[in-house]
């Protein structure tokens, strides 16, 4: 009996969680010239408007390549860092770990304002690589958390076996260790990509006139609520779903890393 109450209550809470995600689908297909619910008819007009607007397309491409570059940089820096944290023994390791995870706790507005101060001096506002660097700071904790969890569960006997059979350390790393860590690498890279692709606050300060997709969305929401945003939202939701499917299929579980 009480179990049934729990299930019903949770059903309502799931509805609360999913409602905003579901509601954008019908609105994106609305034939009305402005926000209206329920839509009077169906049309692709908002998707067409998105695809025909060079500003939206340019912002989308920019976000895609900034996200990709962020994922690469965050992996390139975060994976060696995770190795150090799990396998190294050096003075100040606790400090390094806390520093690497701090961007999760430090409010993003503070990081944004602080980096904005520096970038304004260096004339880096609007530079795509400036955003990549700032996004990498924010993505690093995800990479470190996932890779540290992966490395903790790693069976080092396999590496010792490879070295015992005469493999060099480099060969062991590239042939044994990294391939076995592939699920963690996939999860870490995809999470880093999404964290950058969705990021707004840093972009508001650092992107300047070179809009990223979230910044363009923010400006549009502030000015007028036109269903083009709904069409963009649907595509964003589909992209995130795809990434979650990829993580579920090729990556390491997210629940473990989120703890």
């Amino acid at each position: 009996m009480s179990r049934r109450v729990l299930v019903v209550a949770c059903g309502l809470i799931y509805l609360f969680l999913m409602l905003p995600i579901l509601v954008v689908f019908p609105i994106s297909l609305s034939s009305a010239p402005y926000m209206q619910f329920p839509p009077p008819g169906l049309s692709w007009q908002w998707y067409e408007r998105y695809l025909d607007d060079p500003q939206w397309i340019e912002a989308t491409w920019r976000s895609l390549y900034i996200g990709t570059a962020t994922a690469c940089l965050a992996l390139g820096l975060g994976v060696p860092l995770a190795f150090s944290l799990v396998r190294g023994k050096f003075l100040g390791r606790g400090f390094v770990e806390r520093l690497a995870l701090a961007p999760v706790i430090v409010p993003t507005i503070i990081l944004s304002v602080a980096v904005y101060g520096i970038f304004a001096k260096l004339k880096l506002i609007g530079a795509w690589y400036g955003l990549v660097v700032a996004h990498t700071v924010l993505a690093l904790p995800f990479v470190v958390l996932v890779m540290v969890a992966g490395l903790r569960d790693f069976d080092r006997g396999l590496e010792h076996a490879a070295e015992g059979l005469g493999a060099s350390r480099w060969r062991t790393l590239t042939r044994i260790t990294l391939p076995l860590l592939r699920p963690s690498l996939v999860s870490a890279g995809l999470l880093a990509f999404i964290s950058s692709f969705d990021e707004v606050v840093v972009a508001l300060f650092l992107a300047g006139a070179n809009m990223t997709l979230p910044k363009k969305m923010f400006d549009n929401i502030l000015m007028e609520i036109d269903p083009t945003i709904a069409a963009v939202s649907v595509m964003q939701i589909l992209l995130v779903s795809l990434v979650l499917v990829l993580i579920g299929r090729f990556g390491r579980g997210l629940s473990g890393s989120a703890r």
């Binding site: 860092l81 050096f90 503070i110 939202s233």
Partner: protein, 269 residues
Amino acid sequence: MTARGFWPALPALLLLFIFFLFPVVRMLGFSLEGGSLDWYAKALGEGLYLRVFWNTFEIALLVTFFCLILGYPLGFLMATTTPLWATVGFIFVLLPLWTSVLVRTYAWMVLLGRNGVFNRLLIDSGVTEDPLPLLHNFTGVMIGMVHVLLPYMVLPVYGAVRRLDPAIVAAAEGLGASTWRIFWRIYLPLTLNGIFAGAVIVFVLSLGFYITPALLGGGRVIMIAVLIEQQVRETLNWPFAAALSAVLLAATFAVYSLAQRFTRPQEAT
């Protein structure tokens, strides 16, 4: 003093020093401009700004409370149901978690606005004649923030319930304890760690929230992060923005480290 395995950490460490630690410390330094604490006195002394801090804490506490009463049942159900339903439950939690905050904020505007979905339904069904004010106020900010932060509560609760030894529950059932008694005497005390971890994360993240109050608050709900942004972009008052940031950062770290000290001895058992 050893340095085994330090070198791979160096590149990441350089990035964090140059683009994270240095900029933040440099900015916080602005608040001490002229060697005085005047900007702190303004931030913590003037009623207007004190109100913003108080508002922020109030919102963070309420958001934490609502996330707790909504998140606990969800995490609990996911941890005690069949693996298939647990997977479905995870998808419904992770999909919103990774969907852009902007998409969700926009969707709430569509749902809660004057001519939004909820008000349309309420008016059409005759519950109310005038649209309810759900957006651009406190209610809107609360709904939006709870929605964004709920997954951060669900996941630690799920973990805590999963770690609990089912034999204890089975023993209590065998001895005839009622469902409620099992919940109050076994589940709740033994999952306090997860509840606490989730509550701390939700509270700390709420303190620094910017997007949701900026868009759903309609200029009527000012949280610290919104105030900092205004000081930097509109009034260009860097020293004051720095003082506000320093107070926000100090509050964040205080809550966080207090919580860590509190949980550590418990985790050892």
